[in-house]
Symmetry: C2
Subunit: 181 residues, 2 copies
């Protein structure tokens, strides 16, 4: 059998990350959990509160020119000073998914500057995107962010900027989970 | 647990499709099998020769204008007259996957006319694309085509046209499996 490409974010009683808050920004909330465990592979565990699954993939909107800018500040996870994290699962509307590639790209970048906004914050705020929709999950994407205590405000600013964009009009469910290591 | 979005193409001794030929066009062949069974969900079956898995997804390169052309001839699978089929698993090189979205789009359509070539054959040749790379499979994509006996030559023409494109220079493994219902 193939090596699993799936990452499971397991919310429950165990894990190296403590959940500080879990806020529904749009749509249904998820139940509270105390700790988060990040595991490689797929799990079905009755001893936890929830499991959110996703896989990393190739970049689906970024142009060569944008990639070159992103590459100047590679996103490095697991830095010892980055003791704070955010896990943000989102689901977009059917209207979004019925758009063609060029229409989605136009909203995401030309109108909402998603890639450009993210790249501005890249050095202090590391992140990794997981795709969930293709494997039948409740959410379409999970984004995992890591930052230091000094950059919590910076992260809040980034999240606020993105939530004001045209792209976010297509977000029908979003949960903002904050964590400390 | 979420409803599985995975389709399993199971090559073995059972199934409604008889495998007529199984030809490696590039890279390693796959072992022969007599029959093909198409199942929803993931299976690990020791009684078969191989299982190829993939999921359907949103279109990742098609523009609005191209979608409108494709929509004129919707691809309908399971037509009773379409007793012939082809299953074509392909794997692209790391070089392909390291390209940015705009570079891949340029090779796929502006230089290779992949979408335009496919749409020209759409009415007699129905097809469905499954993504496999993101779930750690050996191949990156599986394409399933259905057509009538009268259109076998037409399908061969389509396959030959695509294999001559610049996009196909990035194909490092391809198997052409032909079937009859």
């Amino acid at each position: 059998m193939a090596v699993s490409t799936i990452t499971s974010f397991v919310g429950g009683m165990a894990g190296s990350w403590t959940i500080l808050s879990c806020t529904a920004m749009a749509g249904q909330p998820i139940v509270n959990a105390k700790k988060l465990n990040i595991m490689t592979g797929e799990f079905d565990n009755n001893n936890c509160n929830w499991i959110l699954k996703g896989f990393k993939s190739n970049l689906r909107y970024t142009t060569k020119q944008e990639e070159e800018i992103l590459d100047l500040n590679p996103s490095i996870l697991g830095k010892p000073e980055n003791n704070f994290a955010a896990l943000i699962p989102i689901k977009k509307s059917e209207e979004w998914w019925l758009l063609a590639q060029d229409e989605r790209r136009k909203i995401l970048e030309e109108k909402s500057h998603h890639i450009e906004i993210g790249s501005r914050y890249l050095s202090p705020i590391s992140r990794s995107l997981y795709h969930s929709r293709d494997i039948g999950e409740e959410f379409d994407f999970l984004t995992w962010f890591e930052f230091s205590e000094n950059h919590i405000e910076k992260f809040n600013e980034l999240a606020e900027l993105l939530r004001k964009t045209e792209e976010w009009k297509y977000v029908i469910r979003e949960v903002d989970i904050r964590l400390r290591k």
